[in-house]
């Protein structure tokens, strides 16, 4: 019991074990949920033709897809394989899940990064604009743009943009085969342009609001008034002092949005034909490729959990108030 209590109150061990527990929970949850969805890989592949299978053929296919073993065995086989680096095999793509993810994850990451960059480029200036004169038309404008971004569904914006641009100015780089950044940087950037705009516009709002609130808060504080009394010019004040101190909440909010982007980009990936990780999971669910979905979801959860863990540990080390908890 003393060991448990020691671990439970240990500064580093406790969050780590909690993170591992979360991952195990995710693994069990996704395993069970997938098998609760009607159908399996056989019926997903053959469709109604599966009705024509004889029992021997059915058994052969079940063995081929690994569906014949008891559920518990399947679970531990999968989990055990993960520890040896074998995330499973996609018979549809004829590649290991690891390879597939290595190809698709960078695409989504690139999309997420560009979206955040665009969101910051839109959100921060708008937020500062709004905060420069609160409750003025300027403020209303900034807030309105942010509100639009928050309210327009990404699929609506994406569909409308794509349809209009390809019909009128024939701008459709996404109609070409997808190019990775390393293969053809120019084409890749063009292909990322519209999707990042759509996603970035959507997440610009929270960033704008956080900027506005943070800037307003910081501006009211003593050290700003002192600096102004000392004669520091307004522009320099804005950038140097205000923005720097407002950065912390902005960064936190940005981090939150990143997590959302990893999974929420699936609709944009569909519309713009980007071979990202969201599409990979969606296809896996449709084709009932259990290992593919399980391992990919676990990977995404791992990324999420690791980031949280690091932030948590970082706060505990930096902030003495948290440490005392």
């Amino acid at each position: 019991m003393n060991l448990v209590r020691a671990v439970a109150s240990h500064r580093v061990l406790r969050p780590v074990i909690s993170a591992l527990g979360t991952l195990l929970g995710v693994a069990v949850f996704v395993f069970v949920m997938l098998r609760a969805i009607p159908g399996n890989q056989i019926t997903a592949g053959l469709g109604t033709e599966a009705a024509a299978l004889t029992p021997a053929q059915q058994a052969a296919l079940e063995a081929y897809y690994g569906l014949d073993k008891p559920l518990v065995t399947q679970f531990f086989n999968w989990l055990g394989n993960i520890f040896t680096g074998n995330l499973g095999f996609s018979s549809r793509a004829q590649q290991s899940v690891l390879e597939l993810t290595a190809q698709s994850l960078p695409v989504t990451l690139e999309l997420a990064v560009f979206s955040i960059v665009l969101a910051l480029l839109i959100g921060i200036p708008l937020g500062m604009l709004s905060a420069s004169r609160p409750d003025s038309p300027r403020d209303a404008f900034g807030q309105a743009v942010g509100l639009m971004g928050l309210s327009i569904p990404s699929f609506l914006l994406a569909t409308a943009l794509l349809a209009i641009l390809s019909a009128t100015v024939r701008f459709n780089p996404n109609g070409q085969a997808f190019a990775y950044f390393s293969e053809d940087p120019l084409l890749n950037l063009q292909q990322m342009l519209l999707p990042s705009l759509v996603l970035g516009f959507g997440i610009a709002a929270p960033i704008m609001r956080t900027t506005r609130t943070a800037v307003l808060e910081v501006r009211g504080q003593d050290f700003i008034r002192t600096a102004r009394a000392k004669g520091v010019g307004p522009r320099r004040l804005q950038v140097r002092h205000v923005l720097k101190n407002a950065l912390v909440p902005i960064v936190t909010m940005t981090g939150l949005q990143f997590g959302y982007l990893l999974g929420g980009a699936v609709v944009v990936e569909q519309i713009f034909s980007l071979p990202g990780i969201g599409r990979q999971v969606l296809l896996g669910i449709q084709q009932k490729e259990y290992a593919l979905v399980q391992s990919t979801v676990l990977l995404i959860a791992l990324a999420f959990v690791v980031v949280n863990l690091l932030t948590d540990l970082l706060y505990r080390i930096i902030d003495p108030r948290v440490r005392a908890e």
């Binding site: 909690s18 979360t22 997938l34 939150l256």
Partner: protein, 295 residues
């Protein structure tokens, strides 16, 4: 996306509801939001009582793809159905799903979060564990998978969305409850021997209502968007029940020949979400003591 409100809880217990309403009306966004949501609520009521100009499901192949006119305010779709009536029914359907989903998430999430924060110990560990697991999933993928498990109808979709939202309500309520526990009058109540449940209801819950109200409005707006996204991916309420997302989905192919089939549901869904967001902003402004002085 998921915005977690950050207002301080403790000093609001004294604000009366009449005062709150007046403050809400003072806020410009609050008023605008109230008007928008009110208008759309009227549409919902019309749809619920069958007072629409046309039956949203009635097909009329001869009147296929007609542009907006006096007879059909938003035109007709590929099956000759009146787009205005379908949009109204779609608003009602989205509203129903959003309200049920958020209600479910609020009740379950609040109970779990408050119990976890108040009683701590094992219940806290279990609740926090479940919250962490659910949070680690990308939200749209979670909703999508859950919606595929059961026979698809509006209720199962609402439950799927609710499950995605429960962790947010847990997190939003647990935090304040943790700090409330330490406040003097709660401590006093505990030591004076009052029953735990009574303390929860009498002292703790009223103090977190304002956060809950704001979170509910924000969650409603996101629930509408999630339902629309699910419908767009073909995983929403099965046709022919009108849903704003599936109307936009079906209109994708018609954008060149009949743009009104996409513009109408698109604009309405945007207005709906804008209205809810404005309402949420207004509520937050009126309920947050820090902002009370300004607007």
């Amino acid at each position: 996306m998921t915005e977690i409100s950050e207002s301080a809880p403790a000093s609001l217990a004294g604000v009366q509801s009449g005062q709150r309403l007046r403050l809400l009306l003072k806020s410009r966004s609050g008023v605008a939001g109230l008007i928008l949501v009110g208008l759309l609520a009227i549409l919902c009521v019309l749809a619920a009582f069958g007072l629409l100009p046309y039956d949203p499901l009635a097909q009329a192949p001869q009147q296929r793809l007609l542009p907006p006119s006096a007879a059909h305010w938003f035109g007709t779709d590929q099956f000759g159905r009146d787009v205005f009536s379908r949009v109204a029914a779609g608003v009602a359907s989205s509203a129903l799903i959003a309200v049920v989903a958020v209600a479910f998430a609020t009740v379950v999430g609040t109970l779990a979060g408050v119990s976890a924060g108040f009683f701590r110990g094992v219940s806290d560990a279990v609740v926090s564990g479940v919250t962490n697991v659910l949070f680690a999933f990308p939200p749209l993928l979670l909703a999508l998978s859950l919606a595929s498990v059961f026979d698809r109808n509006w209720f199962t979709i609402a439950v799927a969305i609710a499950i995605v939202y429960v962790p947010i309500f847990i997190r939003v309520t647990r935090g304040p409850v943790l700090s409330l526990r330490e406040i003097d009058f709660v401590r006093a109540a505990v030591s004076s021997g009052q029953r735990r449940a009574a303390i929860m209801f009498r002292h703790v819950l009223p103090n977190i209502t304002s956060i809950l109200i704001v979170q509910v409005t924000l969650s409603l707006s996101w629930a509408v968007l999630t339902e629309a996204s699910l419908s767009f991916l073909g995983l929403g309420t099965p046709p022919p029940a009108p849903s704003l997302g599936s109307m936009i989905y079906e209109a994708r192919t018609l954008v060149y020949i009949a743009p009104w089939t996409m513009v109408a549901p698109g604009v309405i869904v945007v207005l709906f979400v804008v209205g809810l967001n404005l309402l949420g902003d207004g509520l937050r402004d009126s309920l947050d003591p820090r902002n009370r002085g300004r607007k």
